[in-house]
Each structure stands twice: as structure tokens, then as C-alpha cells.
Amino acid sequence: MSPQRVIHFTLNGAAAAAIVEPHHNLIELLQAQFGLTGAREACGQGLCGCCTVLVNGRAVSGCLYLASFVDGADVATIEGFDVSNRLSPEQEAFIETGAFQCGYCTSGFIIMVSQLLDKHPDPSDDQIKHYLSGNLCRCAAYPEIIEAVKLAARKRKARAATMARA
């Protein structure tokens, strides 16, 4: 159909290579070639956030991001968040506050929350809403998600303190 191309990149910390076509997007690459289905296409227009993936540390909409663009990049997906089987503070907080129902949008939310907390360790309600206005949840777990962000912020600090003590 179209010329194929070999790309090399880092995927959740490991070296990866793939053969892609120019029209393949990042979600197709992750799902079809790596079996990673945590980032999912829903709206297909970059409006819902279900397909959020980190590329070089920045959240992108995987449904609009061409696969060939990750050549040489560092790609991180939700599947890389529970390092050594330990949930990230955001993941723990989402469970403890019940910040999801069907779970389809949850990966995207958790990735955006981690971005938010990287920039604003003590986010205000306005900052939370600003960062998460590009993620939609049809089950409308928004009140619980706001609660989860605040809990995750506390968990991050507690972990940092534990690490500092160790």
C-alpha cells in the first residue's frame, strides 16, 4: 500500500523496533505490534484523552500521533507505570478513591495526572481542571478523579520522604 519503514525507539524503558507504514498511528503500533492496549482509540480526534501516551515525557494523543514520529523517541505507556509490580501513587489513588467506572478512559487520566503532579506537586482545583479538561470520562467520575489527584499528591510526597529516609 505505502512504503514501510523501520523505526527504533524506547518503549517503557526497553529498546524496541518496528516496521510501520506512513499512515499508522501510535495506537495501532502499540496495539498491533506490542500488544499494549492500555492506550485506546475512542473519539479518533484527540479530544477524549483515552489514547494518551508519553513521548519524550510529553503527553500526546496516540490516535493522532503518527507511529513513524516516535523513531528515536522515548515512549511510555500506562503498562510501564507499575514498576516491579508496585502501583504508582496515581494508580493507587485512583483505586482508593474509586476514580473510575468502566476504566476505558482511566489510562489517559492517570498519565495526565502524573504530568500534572510533575509540574504542580500541590495542584489547586483550577490547575487540576486545567490539566484534565482534555480528558473525558463518559461515566463522569470527575469528582472522584479530583479527589484522586489530591490523594496522589500526598502519596507522592510520602514516597519521596520514605526514599529520602532510606
Binding site: M1, R40, C48, C102, Y104, T106, A141, I145
Partner: protein, 768 residues
Amino acid sequence: MAAIEQADAARAGSQIGRSVPRTEGRDKVTGRAEYVHTMRLPGMLVAKIFRSTVAHGLIKSIDTSAARKITGVLHVVTIDDIRKLIPNPYYGPAFHDQPILADKKVRFVGEPVAAVIASDPHIAEQAVQLITAEYEELPAVFDEVEAMTSKVFVHDELRPAATFADLKHLKGLKGTNIALSFKLRRGDFDAAYAEAAHKFEHEFRTQKVLHLPFEPHATIADYKDTGVTLYSASQGPSFVRTEIARLLGWPENRVRIKVPYLGSGYGAKLYIKLEALALALSMIARRPVKVALTMEEMFYQITKHPCTFRIKSGVDHYGRIVARKCEVFWNGGAYADIGPRVTQKAGVTASGPYAIDNVWIDSHALYTNVTPSGALRGFGVPQLVWAYESHTDMIARELKLDPVEFRRKNLMRDGDQHTSSQVLKDAAVEKVMDLVLDRMNWSRPFDEGTGIVRRGRGFAIAIKTVTTPTTSVAIVNVSADGSATLYCSTVDMGQGSNTVLAQIVGEVLNIPAESVRVVQPDTDVTPYDMGTLGSRSTFHMGHAARRAAEEARDKLKQLARELGEPDGSNIPVGELFKKRYGMQAGNIVGSGTYKPDYVSPNPETGLSPNITPFWMISGVGAEVEVDIETGHVMIAKLINVIDCGTPINPKLVETQISGAALMHLGFTMFEKMHFDGGQVTNASLADYKIPGIRDLPGTMENLTVDNFQHNGPFGAKGVGEVATFCVSPAIANAIDDAVGVRLTELPLNPEAVYRALRTRAGRPLDES
């Protein structure tokens, strides 16, 4: 029976009323939960759909020749290909009216006409673009009221399914768009209305909106001559199995439906949707075939019913409603789906939670040339409540009565006959009302605002039956190490049913809910359930799971007795198995079935002394701020209260109330499918706005009243839909309170409010 259940509730201790975290939480936050839309099978092909561009027309020709020439295209399929394998390729829950692909005629824009099967979705999509069809366009009917009398008929002949006995008389009927009319007659409306001191008549409308689950519809069919397996994002695997077996002329045991987690459903994934097409395509390809929609395509799959509701009330000198007439017209779209059930089940409560002696209800399901309508979180009840609670408020305001006290005077209470003639029991109508008012500080002075921002508050209250009679079956298996597994076909689509059912099993077996495994629906192993719908699972499957666990518990006790253990011995279950089998071996299996009693409505009067095993009650209080220069409405406060009996899992109940109310906030304030000549013009998330995190009310409370459902599992009853009912009228009533304008059509967007304000000021805006 009731006494036994009371005793159970009294015993309820450690598992019931516990906010157990969702059993599937870890899979969901790590991105590892499985959904059909992202599932792949070895050797799987994909299909894309070519859809009608006209609303109503005869198919003159379909040209697939260019599509077939694309490298990588394996099959291009029309109804003629399908009919060779499935001689009667029509499906549907109430009517077998929907062809797997359009058959000689198209009935709505977006109707599937042909399908392309390829190994690569891009190739399939490219091929779809090359298909062309010629139609002889026919006049179309879009409006539900017009459809009543239109000479345009969506179907030449009605094709009711055998599923519902009360629809059989419609078979072969021609020259009508009415799929079902439900009528209820109580007392003498005409006489009472004629004598009433005050008479009121209003008309309300609701718009076409859709569920839009973020996992779009998806089914993979894997057909073999010996049996077929479907992986489907379905809320009702048992029904899908029945329909697929019927289409194939096979016994049910050769059809397997597997359902992993659902990226939600809200009613969109009920009954049968893509499954018939996926089956047919897999039969043709003789390989697994996946049919997965895009978000845009969901606008052509299923929507909520738009509705026109004409309501008349007669009120006496004492402020008592003495007569009410409800004429409800449901816009069912091109195929009946479950519209006839919506029409009847919702119809029963169309006059509201008020004790009125003379009631006349006509509820009509109509075919039109738009995307089919089905059930959306409330089975039609939110549309009815929108009308009757707006109407009730308008009456009170016109009679200069307090809208809340006017309601209180007319409310049904336990011991009263519901309109259906069933005596109300465990329906905490007044408790719900009082809790809303308390949290709203209703009796305190209220700041009405000044200048351009005016403040108002509104209230609404509602009642609903549960879809009845329906059956649930569950199996509890205790393994040789003492661990327990629940097998049931209830689908966890985010509402938390797996967790709640694990709590019920855990309660009976006296083990933590977290240790109970709930098997994902798979009709080869999980027994029958009517469907995950209408807030029925906690009650129906809750009972079935409870009974299955009780049977397993009793068998374990029997085993202990046989092994000579003293009564009340707390020997670990695993030791019992070891003693019996000499090693870790064996199983104890308990099963349970639940089907509530029911009396069909009398065909003449629509009355029944037993129409529902429980009543769902909800109330909403809303406080709004209206900008009179822009028409913008800010929801300052939203108080959502429901009666769900015992909350088995308080946190999940709260989340369901909150989610239901917020979803309905979207339907109330801005969501609307726009049409031009039958064509949806905003079929994308870019043009169809849904609630985001910035749309949260200023404050929101999600509460339950203290109540016990005498015949519920541990006193519980349904939750999922309940908080949707009252949101729209509570907000419209608050807008009226704030600025004195009454909106009778949803959504309540700034344009609608501003137009009403201008009209009220005598300076109406031009239409268009």
C-alpha cells in the same frame, strides 16, 4: 419468603454495607483490563461498513466492483450473500425487523448497506469508499407526532418477534408506524377533568441524544460449522446467544458468547447490535471477523428515544390533582429495538409519583426514518419525568402554591395504590423529598441575585418500576481449598456489579468479598441472565447469587455433618474436602435462580396489582445562576437523593448516583444530535459536546435515604439509573424560579434560555 429475607438482613454484618474497592480495579488502572474493541484473535480479519446516505429509499443497485479490486480485500458483502447462509436474516428483541444489511430498502441515513472484509482495517476502509449505491428516494418521516398519522410508512409490514406475547397481534399489520400502543385507564379522566376547578395542559419535548460509551460497539465472531464463539461488548450475552442460535437454527449450546469488561454501555450495548453482522461475515470468511465501530458510527447505531409528551391535569380547590392525561409519543427510529418495551414499561409511571384517582395514559412507540432508539439509563423514565415534573411545577406556580408543598399534598405514600393499582411498599417517596429539601436549606431565605445574575432553585421527584418479569441464574462453586467462585452473566460495565455480587456471596459464605472470584460472562459456563439493564442486577442477580451461595453453604454444612463434625464447628472448608477426598480435591456447587412474581397489565385498562417487585425513587434539588445577558446557566448546587434500600457498597452507590446525575446534566444542558434531512450533522465528539471536568456543578451531593427493601437481597434494590430521572426538570424549574421563563424542550442551552428571555421581554429573536 419475606420473613426469611428479613432474617438474612438482620444477620448482615461484615460484607454488606462495606465500601469494598472494585475487584477489577488493579486491571483497570494498569491498562490491562480486556475490552473487545482492543482484542485481537489469531487469524482475525476486520470488516468496515458502507452506509446509506439517504433516509428512506429503495436500493436500485449496489456497485462493489471497484472495492473488490483492491489488493487485500477478501469479501465485499451485501444482504444477498448473507441470505445464502442465513435464510431469514432479520433480528431484534421486540420485532424481527432489522436486516443484517439493508434488504431492498434503506430506512435511515447511516444504515449498513454493505461490508468489506480485509486483513487490514485501512484497506477495508479504502474499499468502503469505493462502493457506490443508487437509491430511489422515498418521502421520509422524522417526527414522532407526524409518524402517528403520516402516509409514509417506515415498514411495509410489521414483524413482531415471538419473544413478547403481547405483541403477537401486530404480526403482519400494514399501513402504520405504530409499533406498540400502551394504554392505562384508571377512574374516569374525562368526567373528573371536566369538573376540575383548574385545568392545565402543556406539551414537552426531548431531543435525540446518545449513550456514547467510550468503547464503541465491537464484536468478534469466530464461526465454525460445529459451533460459533462471539466476543462481544454486550450487556446481555444470554439474549445474544438466543438470537444468534435462532438466526442459525441451532441449539443454544453451539453458540458461545464471551464478554470481557465493557467500556461502559448505559443501555447502548443491550439486546443484539453488531453480533448478527459479525456472525454473517465470519460465516462468509470462514475466519474470525471483527466488526468495531468508530465513535462517528455510534451515531448510526442506537440513541435515546426523543419524546413528545402532552400532559393535562385537573386540580381541585384544595390543590389536589384529580385527573391527569398523558399522551406520550416515542420516536423509535427505523427499527424497533427495545422501543416497545420502553413505551410500555415507562408508560406505566407516566403520571408520576402522585396519587391521582383518574388517569389516562396513552404511550405510543413509533417508527421514523432516523437512527434507531433504545434504552438509555432509565428506559424512557427521564423523558417522562422531564415533562411531569415541569408540568407539576407550572401548575403550582400558576396557582400561587409552593411547588414543594403542592407536591407533598399529592404524593403517593406506602399503602397508597400506585396508578397501576399495585399498592406502594418500601417506596421512600417523602423521605427522599425531605432529604433533598433539608440539604437545599429549602425553608431558609434564598438569595435571588441582582443585576445580570439571577438565582433560582428547583425541585423534582420521580418513581420508576423495574423491568419485570425477568430471570437471573447464578452458580457458586466452592473449590477444595475453600475459595469461592461466582458464575453469572451479569456484565460489569463499570457499575461495579462484580464487586457487589462478590459481597453478597462473601456475606453468605462468611468470607471476605475480596476473596470471591467473579467469572466474566461466558455463556458456555455462566448461566442465564436476562440482561444487565434497568437497575435490575443488584436485586435479581443479587438474589440468585445469594441463593446459590446459600445452597453451597448448606451443602458444606451437610458435608461437615457427614464427616462427623459437631454443629457449629469452625473447621476450615479446605479440611472438609481433605477429609472427604483424602487430598485437596472436589467441589461443592450451589445454584440459585430468581424471578419475581408479576401480573401482566390488563390489556383493557393497563392496570396490574403486581407490576414491579420494587420501586425506584429519586429526587433532585438544583440551584442555578442565570446570566440574563447571555442566557448562560451555571449550576451552583445539585443535590441528588435516591432510595436504593440498603446500599450494599456505599461508595459504589455514591459513584453511580454521581455519574448518573452528571451524565444527565449533559442531556439537560447541551447534548443534542442535529439533523438535516435525516442526516446527523454533528456525529463526532468535536461537534457533540459531553460533560467534562469543567461542567461539574459548584457543589454536588449524592445521597441515599435510610430504607429497607423487604424483598430485596439484604434489603437492597436497584441503583444505576435512578439518579438520572430528575435532573432536567429540577434545573428547568430552577431557571423558571430565577428568571421567570419556562423551557419545554431540551437541552436548556444558553440560546434556548436567551430566546425565552427575549420572548418574555416582548422582543423575540428571529428563528434560524
